[in-house]
Subunit: 373 residues, 2 copies
C-alpha cells in the first residue's frame, strides 16, 4: 500500500511553558479504515527521530519505520484496525517545529521555537484525534520516546484510550539518559555551522549532528549485537592504517550512519526533542509514580528487552509495579533479544504475537466512552 | 611525599608499523626504594588519560591518580616496594607523543607522528626498566588501558615479570569499545580548529575534545552511580529553562569536565592512544587467546567490577579462562561496586586487601631471573 502523508491544521496550542504556539501543522498517515462505531483506531507514537511514515511504502518506495508491525495480518492488523501515526510537535517531518517558518517573522523559528514537552506533543495529538472524530482510541502504542507519549496519554486523557502499550521506555529520563542526550546537544551546538540555530539556507551543522547520531547509534545497539554485526573486522584492508583512517567495519558504519542522518533530520529538532525527553517525568507534581498513574483508566501491555541498556528493563518494571500497586490491568513481558534498544524495531517476532493477543482482548472488552461515563 | 617527575632518554624504538622513532623521552615517577636484590620493583600502568604522576603529591599539591592505592601502608606499599609509573608513548605528559617537537622538522609531529600500539608502549617501558637496572619486575599492575599493557608485558617479556595484575580490562577491544572511541575521534577531527592536527600555537580543537571527553565520562560511570550522584536534580534553578541552557546537574557536570579536560590533554594524543587501544588484541597472530598466553610465566591477579559496563566482567573472565586452560597461576575477583569503570580508581577498599595479599605471596615465592633460567 502506498502511504500518503496528510496534513491537519490547528489554530493554537498553549504549551507547558505558558507560550501559545499558533498556526500549527500536523503531518500524519493512516492505514486501514475506521469502523462505523469508531472503536478500532490505534494511535502509533514514533520514537525520537521517527516520523509519520510508520507503515506501507511512500512514493519513493521507502517502507514505514514499523512496517514489520503494521499492515494486513501484522501485529497492528490494518484489516481490522484503523492505524494512524503523526509526526511529533518539534519534529522536522511535516509537523510544526523549529525549522518551520514562524508566521510572526517570516523566517524559520530556529532557537526562537518555544521549549516543548512530551505532554505538549500528546495534547497536539489529542487535537488531531478530535479533528478525525474519534471519541476513544482502542490503543496508543509506541517504543522509546513513543512509549513516553503512551504513558502521557494514559494520565492526560484517561477516558480517551482503551489500551496503552508502552514499549522499551521509561516513566522518567535517568541521569545517564540525560547525559547521552546532552552530549549530542553539545556536539551540535559546538559546531561553528550551528550559528546559534540560524543555519537554514546555509551550511548545516553536519559534523556536530553526525557525531550526535554516532553516539545515539551505539546506545541503540547492544555490546553483543555490535560484536555479531561487526566484531573486529577490518574495512577493505588487510592491516591497520596506523593513521586516523577507517580501520574497522564499525567505524565505517558509524561514519556512514552519522552522515546519512544529516540529510534527513534537523539539528534544532534534535535539540528540542531531546530536551522534551529529558524533561519527561510522569511522576512530576505527584508524590509518586503510582499516584500519578491512579488517574489512568486503560489496560496496559508493557514490553522491555533483555539487552536494552538505554531503556533497561528495570525502568519498565517501575511502571509495572506502580500500575499493579493501583490495581490496574497490566501485562508485562520482558522479551529475550540481543538487539538492544533497537529490538522493538527489528526483533518483532515475539512482540507481534503478544501485541496481537493483547489487542484482541481489548477489542472484546472495549468499554465505549459512553459506557465509562 | 613530593613526587618528582624524572626523564629518561632513548635513542630509538622500532614500532610495530615498521617505523623507527628517534630521540625518545620518557617521563616517569618512582616511589619507595629499590632493594639491594632489585626484586621489589612494581611497574604501574596508567589508563588512557593518566600520566606518570600516580602517587604522592606534585609541586602544585595535586595527588597522583592512584594515590589511594600507592604509598606507605597502602596496597602498593612504598615502605616495601619500589613503585614506578611512566607516561605512555604517544602521551602528552612528558613522554614523546604527537605534541613533541619532531627532531627532523623542528615542529610538533601532529599527525606526522607514527601510529602506535600497546605493544610499542610496553617495549618502550622495557627500555626504561633496563635503564633503571631492574632485571625482573615483582609486578606489573594497571586498570583499563593499563591492564592491556599488563597483559602485553606477560606475553612480550614473560621472564621479566613475576606477577601481573590486569584490572577492569580486556584482552581485545570489542566493537562497542571501538565505536565509543571512534565517536570521540570524529568529534575531535570534525572540529574546524583541529586543522588536520596542526593546531599547536593556535586555537585548540576544544569543542571536539570536550565532547569526546563527555562521552568518555558517561562510559566511566554506571547508570546507578549517575543516578546517585545527579539523579534528575536541576542546576541552580527551580524550573526547566525550556531552552538550551543547562537544566540538570548532570549536564553542568559533563560540560565542566569536558572543558577542564581541554586544559590538560592533547587532542592528537587522544587520537593516537585510542587507536592503540582499538588495535589491541592479545590473541592477534595466535590461534586463540589461550595459545597467546601460553608463553606467559607470571602469576596473575585479575580483577573486574560488577557495574563496569565499559570493560564488563565477561572480558576479564575470558582472560581468566584462557589462563586456566593453560594451567597458569591465576586468581580472579569480581568486586561488587556501583561506580562502574571508575571503580578501580575510586572504590579501592576491597581491591586494596586483595592486591596486598596477592603481592605478599608473590614476594614470598619470587622466582629470580637466574632461578627461572
Amino acid at each position: 500500500m502506498i502511504a500518503e502523508t496528510q496534513i491537519a491544521q490547528f489554530d493554537s496550542l498553549t504549551l507547558d511553558n505558558g507560550v501559545t504556539l499558533r498556526d500549527i501543522t500536523v503531518a500524519y498517515e493512516t492505514y486501514g479504515a475506521l469502523n462505523e462505531a469508531r472503536t478500532n483506531a490505534i494511535l502509533i507514537e514514533h520514537a525520537f527521530t521517527g516520523d509519520a511514515h510508520a507503515a506501507g511504502i511512500d512514493h519513493e518506495g521507502k517502507p514505514g519505520w514499523w512496517a514489520n508491525m503494521i499492515g494486513p495480518g501484522k501485529a497492528f492488523d490494518t484489516d481490522h484496525y484503523f492505524v494512524l501515526c503523526a509526526n511529533v510537535l518539534g519534529g522536522c517531518r511535516g509537523t510544526t517545529g523549529p525549522s518551520t517558518v514562524n508566521p510572526a517573522t517570516g523566517k524559520p523559528y530556529g532557537l526562537a521555537f518555544p521549549g516543548i514537552t512530551i505532554s505538549d506533543m500528546v495534547r497536539l495529538q489529542k487535537l488531531l484525534i478530535d479533528h478525525l472524530g474519534i471519541p476513544k482510541l482502542l490503543a496508543v502504542a509506541g517504543g522509546s520516546m513513543g512509549g513516553m507519549q503512551v504513558l502521557e496519554w494514559a494520565v492526560a486523557f484517561p477516558d480517551a484510550v482503551e489500551a496503552c502499550l508502552p514499549i522499551a521506555t521509561t516513566a522518567r529520563h535517568s541521569a545517564q539518559q540525560i547525559a547521552f542526550n546532552e552530549t549530542g546537544r553539545q556536539a551540535i551546538m559546538g559546531d561553528p555551522d550551528f550559528q546559534n540555530g540560524n543555519y537554514y539556507g546555509g551550511a548545516l551543522p553536519a559534523r556536530g549532528l553526525s557525531v550526535a547520531r554516532m553516539v545515539g547509534h551505539i546506545t541503540y545497539m547492544s555490546d553483543e549485537s555490535m560484536r555479531e554485526k561487526f566484531g573486529r573486522r577490518l574495512r577493505d584492508r588487510q592491516d591497520f592504517s596506523y593513521g586516523m583512517d577507517v580501520d574497522f567495519e564499525v567505524e565505517s558504519y558509524l561514519r556512514y550512519r552519522g552522515n546519512q542522518f544529516v540529510g534527513r533530520f534537523d539539528a534544532n529538532s534534535y535539540l528540542y526533542i531531546t530536551k522534551a525527553m529529558d524533561y519527561f517525568d510522569l511522576a512530576s507534581g505527584f508524590p509518586s509514580l503510582a499516584v500519578a498513574l491512579e488517574r489512568a483508566r486503560s489496560r496496559f501491555l508493557v514490553i522491555s528487552f533483555t539487552s536494552d541498556w538505554l531503556y533497561p528493563s528495570y525502568q519498565s518494571q517501575e511502571i509495572v509495579n506502580a500500575l499493579r500497586s493501583r490495581n490496574h490491568d497490566v501485562t508485562y513481558c520482558e522479551l529475550s533479544s540481543n538487539y538492544g534498544h533497537d529490538a522493538f524495531l527489528v526483533d518483532v517476532g515475539e512482540q507481534t504475537e503478544i501485541v496481537r493477543g493483547f489487542l484482541a482482548r481489548c477489542v472484546r472488552e472495549f468499554r465505549s466512552l459512553e459506557a465509562v461515563r
